[in-house]
Every structure is written in structure tokens, then in C-alpha cells.
Amino acid sequence: MASHILEMRSISKSFPGVKALDEVSFQVAPGEIHCLVGENGAGKSTLMKVLSGVYPHGSYSGDILFNGKVQSFRGISDSEHAGIAIIYQELALFPELPVFENILMGNELTKGLAIDWNETVHKASEMLKMVRLSVNPELKVKDLGIGQQQLVEIAKALCKDVKLLILDEPTAALNEDDCENLLKLLRELRGHGVTCVMISHRLKEVIQIADTVTVLRDGRTICTLDARKGEVTEAILIKNMVGREITNIYPERKHEKPGDVILEVRNWSGYSPKLGRQVLKAVNFQVRKGEIIGLAGLMGSGRTELAKSIFGNPDGFELEGELLFAGVPRSFRSPKEAIDAGLAYATEDRKGNGLILIQDVKSNITLARLKKISHRGVTDNNLEVKAANEYKNSLNIKTPSVEQKVVNLSGGNQQKVSIGKWLFVEPRVLILDEPTRGIDVGAKYEIYTIMNRLVEQGMSIIMISSELPEILGMSDRIYVVSAGRISGEVSRAEANQEKIMHLATQ
């Protein structure tokens, strides 16, 4: 085999509290399509950010060899200069600018001090031909479809005389036709000598296109497989992606026979006018009293959208289908109505839209139901402090006092405040979106214990999680979400990581 165009040797990178990459090695041969797969949080994106210079030389350990030379990129401009282009899932285009300007952004063709617009349009048209996108280069990018925008991004990268093209989940937001087109284009580019690294969750397309596949798990390289030798099958990939030992960090709970159905959706579909696509497709599921339902799936599969669509639909989806709460058909027009009915939703992004960081612990805990600590609209400070202290003690929130600002607490304690806030409204169904993301093992265990206590008291919990062991360790029943659909329901007894990953990557 020819020598490698890219070789990453023993790359390690730590963030406070986590080792994101642990001695990762990664080699890419020239002219191949190399797929990088792994679960959420396996370290794929971090590795690519190290490569592209987003994390500059010195912030990681290990060596990057590109074109046979050791590189020390200090920023994206360095890596671009060397011939590496990266296209992120979130496209970095300027929606209000025309296609031709986007393609040559950062690579402007000039005549003297001024931009040579004729040459720019000409060059852009050539690039568009190369990626087989036949649109008027004068069109604004926002008027293109997502698939077309992706091609514009690739055209932009090609314009910079790229040697290594990195695509981070390029097909996640595309429909099937656009996917086909993109894969065809990648093969063509391979014919032109462009090397390509693609991160993807869709294993079918990985098998379809990859020459080589590298699997990452928990920040380590697990294996590199040669697809041309037929080493790659879906089963092999899944096994390598999930083959983690499940350590027993989940507290015991008696899995009693669940009670009546408390929440049910039938044929539940949602269209997002903001995103311009269908986010939920004919979803059916039910939650019983005293049950923990695991909602598994990959990021962006529609789990959060499903939760929000039930919880008063704050994002303004156009919804169809039936929602039954305690056996009664309901339609919640705002989070307030959902809360009043007995639903609660602790968001996945506690800093972004969960807590009010600049306010203190007690204000955050009581916010969703101030009625409980007030008489005729006037708040009672003593009652509030008493209530907040109750949750501080029962959830073991580590803070000097309930007057401490939430911004000063650790991630785990912030999460407990968030849970306390929703327990304060005394819900019948509690939706927890990634309840243990970014918190340490000890705090995780405490949160699991709290969840068990709550269901024993008759509450129902829907837990959205990207961590398979957590889903398996905590759930009574598991629904797997993929591309806005429920791709399968798995009972506790039959559940294993392979099965869920298989459903999630459908």
C-alpha cells in the first residue's frame, strides 16, 4: 500500500474532567474514502478538530503527519493552507450571500485592490460543474435545499485546492436522493485524486462507500477495517462500536408490573416550519404509571423534538395525531398548559434553556410553580426558602445555601437543581433529556437513585439518553428513535447494545 497521506500518532486530548482522546492512531491512504464511525462522544469530532487546527498544536499530545511532514497547525487557516478542508454538519455558509460569493469566500480573486467579480462568477461556475450542481450562481444560498448547500460547501473546499476533504456527518440532514448524489460525487472526487474522510452514523452508506473504516470508542481507536477485502459488515461495525463492558453503576430497583397508561401518542407527526422539514413521522408510543421509558437514538434523530412536541410545543411545530394524557385526548398549546396538566420536561441543555444561571438556587427551583409559594400573587420568602431547602436536602444539592447563584455550582449539582425545579411542580410524567450528560460518575449514581425513588412513588419518567449503558441500565422499556420515527420498541429483557444500535442506525 502506498505511504499514508495522513498519519495521526498517539493523539491524546483532555477536557476538564474527561479524556476525550486517548492515544488515538489514525492513518489515511491517498485516494481512498475513509469512514470514521463510533457512538456519540466516541471522539470522532474531537479528532477532526485536532486535525483541522480548531484545537491548536500544543493543546493535545501526539503527532500529525500530513504529506510525510510533521505538522503543527495553530488554526484552521494553517490546515487549509496545507490542503485539508473540513465540512461540518452545521454548514458554514452565508445564507444571504449568492452562491458564487460563498464558494470563493476567504479565497477571493482580486484585480488590484478590488474583487474581480467576473472571474469570481466564472470560477464558481466551474466549481459548480465539478460537483454537478446546476444552479444559477447568482442565487442566494438560503434559497437552496440542504443537499444543494452541502454541494456548495464541497465546491468551496475544492476551490482551495484541497488534498484531504473531511465531511462530518454530511448525510444526516439529507433525503435519500440527495444522499445518493453526494455519495456518487465522493466517488468521482476519488477518481480525481481527492482523499476523503467521512464521519457517519448511517452504517449502510458506510458499507456502500468506504474503502477503509476506522472505529473509535470512548476516545480510543478500536480497529481499522479494510472494506475492499470485505471485512466490513453492519454487525461487525456495531459490535466494535458498542463493545463496552457495562459496569454495575446502576442502582437496583424492583421492576414491578407497571400501572395504567398515563401518556400515549398515536400517529404523531410534526413538521418544523423553521427547519423546513418533517421532524416527527407517525410516532406511536405509550408510558405507564411507575415506569422508566428509555428513549434511545442518535443525536438529531428527533428525540428532543418528540419531547418538546408533547410538552406544549414551544418550537411551533405543525403537529398531527393524537395525544392522550391520563386517557383523555389533549392538546397543549404552551408549556404552561402541559405543566398544569402534570407534565415536566428537564431540557438537555441545562445552561442554554434549562436554568437561569444568574439567579440563585431557590429562584430556579420554584420558578415553574411560583403559585405554590405565594398567596394571591405575592411571594412568601420564608415558604420559598423552606421549599428550596427541602429539595436541596432530598436531592443532596451541594451548595453553601439556596441563595447561591446557580452559575457557581458544578454540572452535577446544576442538573440536580434542574430536576428539583421539575419535582417542585409535582408532575405525573417527568421527561429527562440527557439527565447525566457532562457530570461525573458519583453524581450520575445519585441521579439514578433519585429516578428510582420517583418511579417507586408512582411517577413516570421518560429518559432521553445517548448513552446506551444508561438506557439499558435504567429503562423498563426502550423506544429507539431514528430519523423522526420510532424504529423499534425493545423490552428490558431483550435489550442489548447491539440491538439498539442496529435500530438507531436504520
Binding site: 404552561k336 434553556n353 437561569i356 429562584s363 411560583l370 411571594t379 420568602n381
Partner: protein, 405 residues
Amino acid sequence: MTIQDLREALTKNIRDYGMYIALFVIMAIFTIATQGLFLSPRNIADLMNQTGYIAVLAVGMTLVIVIRHIDLSVGFLAGFLGAVSAVMLTTWHLPVLLVIPAVLVLGTLAGLLTALPVARLGIPSFVASLAGWLIFRGLLLSTLSGTGTIQIADPTFIALGNGSIPDFPIPQVPNPSGEGTVDAFLPGLHKLTLLLGLLAVVWFIVSDFRNRKVKKSYNFAVIPNDMFILKQVFVASALGFITWNLAGYNGMGWTVVIMLVVVVVYDWVSRQTVLGRHIYAVGGNPEAAELSGIGVARITMLVFGSMGFLCGLAGILFASRLQSAGPTGGTLFELDAIAAAYIGGVSAAGGVGKITGSMVGALVYMSLRNGMNLMGVDESLQYIIRGGVLALAVIFDVTTRRVKR
């Protein structure tokens, strides 16, 4: 108490007290520069009456900025509403007791109208209220187009900006040192003002003590004992001083009464009611507030509505003070109010800002104007100094906030 303790307590609480210290320093400088004229009873009364309408607007603006918006239309809305009250009183001869509520209602409606595109369609408030600025300016001009400046003669109305509260009826005795009669006791002083001032001091001390006791019972951090006493002495003497001065002139003006009522009510609503908590939650994190079941659009409407209501009040106070309404009434009030709110410690990032702070901010701002006028400082220099103080106040606010985190 050692100097060290004092310094530590000051640095810890500098955000809360910085403005009071600034006010104290500014007043001291002007007092020295004007050989005491600045702190004369007459000037204190003047200063209070001048501050009234800006303080009222600053209170409303505080809540607007807290929910991450801005209202540029308040100046000409106040001017327009002042003109409306003049027309109603002078041209239409309507009774003052009808005019005042009508103007307040009109102001509230105008505020709600400005808020409608902001709350329902997500139009930036800067733009929506800029449109309001133009519209209300046009309305002000058209209201006075046939008449020009309208004089107001109604005595009740004029008293709001110029008059004082009545005093107790006191038996008169012959003046020992000259002609006529004087009050039988405390001659030359306004007794009701003294009584109100005394009550305010007692109320402040009692409630602060009770507050401290409650906090201690929950083991919350409280300022050290000696600092606490120092604060009590400082506030009590400041209140006492103002009271004594007001009593020594004509007594407490109606403007001061109105301003204090507005501040006390808004401060209470912002801290002690569900509505207030919702307002600050929306400012702190609108998305989290919405997901906590708070109607962000409803809160936005309410806050702008209250701003409009206060514009009505400010317009009345200003027209009353001038005893007339002219076509330039309200010019740049919005920027004065915004400046006062920022000096008072409101954060542009939203969710932070005290009502009392904004009142003190207004007092600082108007003290600068009043003091420099007394000193005969050139107007051009006055603007520059006021701009400098505003910049300093915001820099102070941002840097102390950073230290705390």
C-alpha cells in the same frame, strides 16, 4: 472594626453600594464647589422635583431593559401625553380628575401598541420603538399645531409639579421677633414632612433588622454587625437630612410623593410578587422561562404597557412643572431615562437591575445637571461630563460583575 474589615466588606458589596457612594461623592463635591448652595433646602427641593419625571421613566425603563428590550419612544410619548392633558384641561375644559386617569390609560394603550409587534412577531424593540418615537413626535406636533404652546391654569394640575403636601393645622402665635404670626411649635418647619420622614427612617430600620434576622435564621451570609450599623446610620442620616431640608422649605412636594409611591410599588412588585419574578426570569433566560410555563409574550406586553403608563405620569409631571405643554416637550427624555437606568446598575445582558438602583441613578444624573448649573458650568462641558459618568458607571458595573464570578 478595623480598616481591613471595612475594605473587605466594601469590596464584597461594592456593586450594591457603589452607586450610593458615587451619589455621596458627587453631592459632596457640588456642596463644596457651590459653598453649600447645592445642599440648601430650596435646591434640595428643586432637585427632587426635577428628578421626578426622569426617575418615573427610569423605573419603567429598568423593567424594559431587564427583559432585554429597549423603548426609544418614551420621550415623545410623554411629551405627547403632556400635550394631550393640556388640550383636555385648557381647550376642552375637562375636570382634572378625569384628565389624569384618561392620560394614564392612553399611555398604557400606546405602550401596548408598541409592544404588539415586539411580542407577537419578534420585531426588535429598537425598531418598533423607533417607529413609536417618530409617530408620537408627529402626534405631539399635530396636537399643538393650531395652538402652539398651551398654558395650563388648573391649580390642582399645577400643584403636582410645583406644590407641596398640606401641613397639619397648627395654632398660630405672634411672631416673637417681628410682625405677623408663626406656628406654635417648630416654627418654619413643615410638620407632616417631618413626620413622614421620621416614619420612613423607622420603617427602614425596622424592616432591615427584621430582614437580617430572617436571613440569619437561615444561615445566609449577612454583612458584619458593625457594617450593618454603619449602613443604618448612613441611610438614616441621609433620609433625615433630606427630610429636614424639605421641611425647612415648603415641605415635601407632590412630585416627590408620586415618585416615591412609584418606586415603592414597582420595587415591591419586582421583588415580592409572582409577576415580578416572571419578569426577571424572562430577562435571565427567555427560553428557560418559556419552558417553565411563563408566557414571554404576555410579560413583554405587560412591561411595555407599564412603561406607557409611566410615560403618561411623566408627561403629566413635566407639563405640570412647566405649567404648559410645548411642541418640544419630552425631547431626549428616553435617553435620560436609559442613562439613569444604566447608571443605576441595570445590565444590558438582561435579568439584572434594581428599581431602587434606577431611582438613585436618576438622582445621580440629575444631581450632575443641577450641580453643574449652579456652578455655571458651560452646557457643552456638562454633556461631556455626564457622558463620562455614564461610561464610568457601566465600566464599573461590568468589571465588578466579572470579579464576582
